[in-house]
Amino acid sequence: MTELLSLSNIRAGYGESVVLQDLSLVVREGEMVCLIGANGSGKTTTTRVLTGLLKPWGGQVAFAGTPIDNIAANHRVELGVSLAPEGRQVFPNLTVNENLLLGSYSRRARPQRKRTLAEVYELFPILASRRTQKAGLMSGGEQQMLAIGRALMARPKLLVLDEPSLGLAPKIVLDVYRAIVRTAEQGVSILFVEQNVRAALSIAHRGYVLANGRIAFAGSAAELRNSKLVQEAFLAPRRTNQGPAPVKVSPISTQREGGFG
């Protein structure tokens, strides 16, 4: 399988605080890869670097074999990278349908908008029934589905999902995961960030464990499940070696109140 996305030796952070020390990972075509790690280990920073929202201090990001370090975030969408960001970040005052239409704003996606919209509504029937509702008034699960649907509207080659199960009821997590698997079956490569390690490893082909801004472990889903590191840190009923709690460095929020329209 050819490499679709590769991050090599990425160093990144905010202000003076280093978040990613030296991160390298690869997603191949057709793969479903999960990135797991504790709070503050750098998972969201990784998604911000690969989508171009955050400029790394060092290292290289390549997509489909070409370095894309100098390509602006909005142009990376045209290449086929699409992110459903942490905290969903739907446009709260816009309707569900408007949110989805914005997902296909790119030139890449616009010609096939009608078809993609029908596909997304088919994948998430709940969104179809909420078409004209304001996104901000929906439940967390519905907003998550909207965020994923919006990302799919760009017709990505690589879909990146940041904590798709965060804050959702177990039944809803199942719905969301089913949709992710169906998307993967249609040939979209998927990189997803999770804290819900058990759930993540149930669908991923491979996984990376991120700790202190580095890849601490990598392997197939089975290898991760059986590794001592993952068992102790994430799967054990009680954590056995709790080090000092890592400091969570939040990216500067650009979610704005109000807005216009």
Binding site: N93, L94, L102, Y105, F260
Partner: protein, 290 residues
């Protein structure tokens, strides 16, 4: 003779104008989060453009309006690219000083070029009025209000249905998420600022045949636009329309029903700003967290 019909007519006609003035101002602010203190000067430039084209060439203000709007759009775009874009991430005080300074410079260039004299544009319709019973409806104000409502309706339709209009709303709500949609956020900032300037000069063209044109006419209008945005709260076009009419009714009511009120009416905007900021700082239609 009852003052009521006349009061209602005057308030409504003024409210339409105020809506255009406030929405033009709020568009740039809502999207770029930079308060354009030079917006009043764009109104002034639009009014002078209409005045000179009428006085020099006999061109009707309404006929030249599309051309003036295009010119205002271009000037707004250039202003954004040359100055505003450089302070997008600067502290608020730098942004305020910059736009305030731009306003002062434009105002004084106008004084140098055209002197401080009051001028008025007098197309034929500005001198006529319609009388219904006791009420008196100046055609100029009626036409001005009509044009203003038309422009606002066009803007709302564009924001609602056009691809880039939707992108403007998306950027106003969450610029990072908008970037992830493939939207060029800085491009949308420039577009919003340019459109805001275009609406500013359009406001100027409309008021050119209603009030007197001077280099200093911009600032009081800016204050009123700010008052309307504060009354409305950020983020709601409906709120902006309501705010515009609140101010129009308050000013007109003050002028009609308070002894010696017409002299004080101009101060009503300040009273509204103060009152709303004390009682409901997020505005009538804004979110409490905003």
């Amino acid at each position: 003779m009852s003052l009521l019909p006349q009061f209602l007519i005057d308030s409504i006609l003024l409210g339409g104008l105020y809506t255009l003035m406030a929405i033009g101002f709020a568009l740039a602010f809502g999207v770029t989060r930079i308060i354009n203190f030079a917006h009043g000067e764009f109104i002034m430039l639009g009014a002078y453009a209409a005045f000179w084209l009428f006085t020099g060439w006999g061109l009707d203000p309404l006929a030249v309006m599309p051309a003036v709007i295009v010119l205002g759009f271009a000037c707004g775009w250039l202003l954004f690219k040359a100055f505003i874009e450089r302070v997008l991430t600067a502290p608020n005080i730098n942004q305020i000083l910059l736009t305030f300074a731009i306003g002062l410079v434009i105002q004084h260039i106008a004084v140098i070029l055209w002197s401080g004299n009051s001028r008025s544009t007098t197309p034929e319709y500005a001198l006529k009025a319609l009388t219904i019973g006791d009420a008196f409806i100046p055609y100029g104000r009626l036409i001005g209000c009509g044009v203003a409502v038309l422009l606002v309706a066009m803007l709302i339709a564009w924001l609602k249905w056009a691809e880039d209009g939707r992108a403007v709303r998306a950027v106003a709500q969450n610029s990072d998420a908008a970037t992830l949609m493939g939207i060029n956020v800085k491009g949308i900032y420039a577009l919003s600022f340019a459109l805001s300037s275009a609406l500013g000069v359009a406001t100027g063209v409309v008021v050119s045949f209603i009030i007197t044109v001077t280099p200093f006419m911009g600032f009081p209008m800016l204050v009123k636009a700010v008052a309307i945005v504060i009354v409305a709260g950020m983020g709601s076009i409906v709120g902006m329309v309501v705010g515009a009419f609140v101010l129009a009714f308050a000013e007109t009511g003050f002028a009609y029903y308070v002894a010696e009120g017409s002299g004080w009416a101009e101060g009503v905007a300040f009273v509204l700003i103060t009152a709303i900021l004390i009682i409901r700082p997020y505005g009538l239609f804004g979110d409490a967290e905003a």
